[in-house]
């Protein structure tokens, strides 16, 4: 039974990773076709580094992901604190609002935002070029917010409300109390939310597709356009490089997290 489970898990991982292996191999392929290996070359990598356009797109995607996740984290953490203080019908109403972008199909979110932006641009700003970094940022913050809130809320529920009272009894102002007592408790939730927002934003295609402009486009949007034409193999090289960068970052975060957890356990043991 156990062996069967392991074999199954292996097969599922094979299924998940086979296409990526195809892309890795394709990145060293001399030909353009992914299914036919015509000889080993590194020129795809050289092409990628020589191509200012794709580097620009990569930078755009990172700028957007970082700024939208930071903004969403700030706004979302405040919102979580606010929602935590709410009760009853109001709380339920706000949580429903929070769930809308989560359960709404991306294409509908994208379409609805593009209609709004064009309307604002045409009838309020008198401009026919509203799309760009600003609209992408707004769109990304909007779909990122729920992720931040949903990862901060559980931490708020776990935090003992008497902690704040105790801090204030000991002479902290509410603000000091918040920064010294509450924030350290919420930190893991905030970070998890920020990372979630960052990755969602970095890989978003559908919503960006409806709100980008040629002046500020992102990598996934451009890749979509490219996959409707013959794909230059340098994009396989880029994929491979990105894969390993993300792998290293994720391993790094995991190691830090593991060390943190061990330290906390030790602390707990000492406490006992």
């Amino acid at each position: 039974m156990k062996r069967l489970g392991k074999v199954w898990t292996f097969l599922v991982f094979l299924f998940l990773y086979a296409p990526m292996i195809v892309l890795f191999v394709g990145s060293f392929n001399d030909g353009r076709d992914l299914s036919e290996f015509e000889g080993f070359t590194l020129s795809n990598y050289l092409d990628f580094f020589a191509d200012s356009g794709s580097l620009r797109l990569l930078a755009n995607s990172f700028i957007l992901a970082i700024s939208s996740s930071l903004a969403a984290t700030l706004l979302g953490t405040l919102a979580a604190l606010g929602i935590h203080a709410m009760r009853g019908r109001m709380r339920r109403a706000v949580m429903t609002l929070t769930n809308i972008p989560l359960v709404n199909p991306e294409i509908v979110t994208g379409v609805s935002l593009s209609l709004l932006f064009v309307f604002i641009g045409r009838s309020m700003l008198g401009s026919d070029q509203v799309f760009g970094f600003g609209t992408l940022l707004i769109a990304h913050v909007t779909f990122n917010l729920p992720y931040v809130i949903l990862s901060v809320m559980p931490k708020l529920r776990q935090t003992d409300s008497s902690l704040m009272d105790a801090a204030q009894d000991l002479g902290c102002t509410p603000l000091q109390g918040f920064f010294k007592v509450m924030l350290p408790e919420l930190w893991p939730g905030i970070i998890a939310g920020a990372i979630m927002a960052f990755t969602m934003s970095l890989d978003d295609f559908v919503i960006s597709y409806f709100t980008y402009s040629p002046n500020f486009s992102t990598l996934p949007v451009e890749i979509y356009a490219i996959t409707r034409k013959p794909v230059p193999p340098m994009y396989y090289a880029m994929f491979t490089l990105l894969f390993f960068v993300i792998l290293v970052v994720m391993i790094g975060m995991n190691v830090i997290q593991a060390r943190d957890e061990r330290r906390q356990e030790r602390k707990k043991l000492r406490g006992v």
Partner: protein, 359 residues
């Protein structure tokens, strides 16, 4: 955890600086919106037209974007929220855009090379007074097929695209106007018919074709045809030449008896363009014989500037696919813009055919 945050902050800072460094020099941004795979971009040792333009005019930065159908171009512009400075639609779409005040008249003082454009490409029905356009390419729509798999006896007409022998290996062109034109040509109608009954009959014929199709595609067919996933597709002559370059087993023909579309793609400036003068410089640059010649060598279409042939690879300049003889061309028909009702009916019918709802 704090370390994760500091790592992220450092990353943010680094990327931010990278972004700012790009903003240092203030260049005029010229937004060019062209068909996919429709300009020489430096691959395979051909010239890089945009790079050459930016070398000639260092104050201008070309931002290049592509579409894959005239209808997508129209939708993007009509949808709003973005602007472009140069667009390259086909004849019938130009006429529609002029009708809807979407184009801006050109200042030909900035386009001296316009004089080099052949007289046959002037005073076209889509722009009778030569106010809005400078032709970029001309070409035909025919059939690309793979000689390895397709029997020579079956070629020669549009009916190959309905041939059940090749079911699952046929791709159909993915825009309403070109798809309907093929059905209309088979039925012997004008390619510009607006008669609802004729349009419905054409839609029925297209619906009959659905079971033998592999898919509908535009530039997506490059890969499919080149790696032989599909064997037969109707497409533009220039693109066909590029595919043949990549896979020599491919070949192209124009129907021997039926009519086919002959089109002109021309450069225009949308009414909401921001940098009209730079756009005119760009149009002028693309019309110069040397650039046009080098460009056509790559994209495989006909140049409207005869002087450009001097700068072309002679093999390309005399290629019968890019330059069919007079007799063949006489069978061709140009598109003119349909009325709004005709366009809408055609779009709706095509939507239904594609969705499998056609009768």
């Amino acid at each position: 955890m704090k370390k994760v945050v500091s790592v992220m902050l450092v990353l943010a800072l680094a990327v931010g600086m990278f972004a700012l460094s790009g903003c240092g020099e203030e260049k005029t941004k010229l937004f060019v919106y062209n068909w996919g795979v429709n300009i020489a971009d430096g691959t395979d040792d051909y010239i890089d037209v945009i790079e050459l333009f930016m070398e000639e005019y260092p104050d201008i930065e070309v931002v290049y974007d592509t579409y894959d159908t005239n209808e997508a171009l129209y939708t993007r512009l009509a949808g709003g929220g973005v602007h472009y400075d140069v667009i390259i639609p086909s004849d019938y779409m130009i006429a529609r855009m002029i009708r809807e005040d979407m184009l801006s008249p050109l200042n030909f003082d900035n386009i001296p090379n316009y004089e080099l454009v052949d007289e046959t490409f002037k005073n076209q029905p889509y722009d009778p007074d030569n106010e809005y356009t400078v032709p970029y390419t001309w070409g035909t729509v025919g059939v690309i097929y793979n000689t390895k798999y397709v029997d020579e006896a079956d070629i020669g007409g549009w009916d190959l695209l309905w041939n059940e022998k090749y079911a699952g290996k046929i791709i159909m062109i993915d825009n309403s106007r070109d798809a309907f034109a093929i059905a209309e040509a088979r039925l012997g109608y004008s390619l510009n018919t607006e008669d609802p009954d004729e349009l419905r009959a054409a839609a029925d014929l297209l619906a009959e074709q659905v079971p033998v199709l592999q898919s509908y595609a535009m530039d997506g067919m490059y890969d499919l045809m080149e790696n032989e996933e599909a064997w037969i597709a109707p497409y533009y002559a220039g693109d066909a030449m590029m595919m043949i370059d990549e896979n020599p087993d491919l070949a192209f023909y124009l129907p021997e008896e039926e009519t086919f579309n002959v089109f002109i793609d021309a450069m225009c400036i949308p009414a909401n363009a921001e940098h009209k003068e730079e756009a005119e410089l760009f149009i002028n640059f693309l019309t110069s014989p040397e650039i046009s010649g080098g460009n056509m060598d790559y994209i495989g279409y006909g140049t409207p500037v005869s002087a450009a042939k001097e700068f072309m690879d002679p093999e390309m300049a005399n290629n019968p696919v890019a330059y069919p003889d007079e007799e063949t061309l006489a069978r061709g028909e140009s598109f003119i813009a349909l009325s709004d009702e005709g366009t809408r009916l055609m779009e709706d019918l095509f939507n239904e055919v594609k969705a499998g709802l056609g009768s």
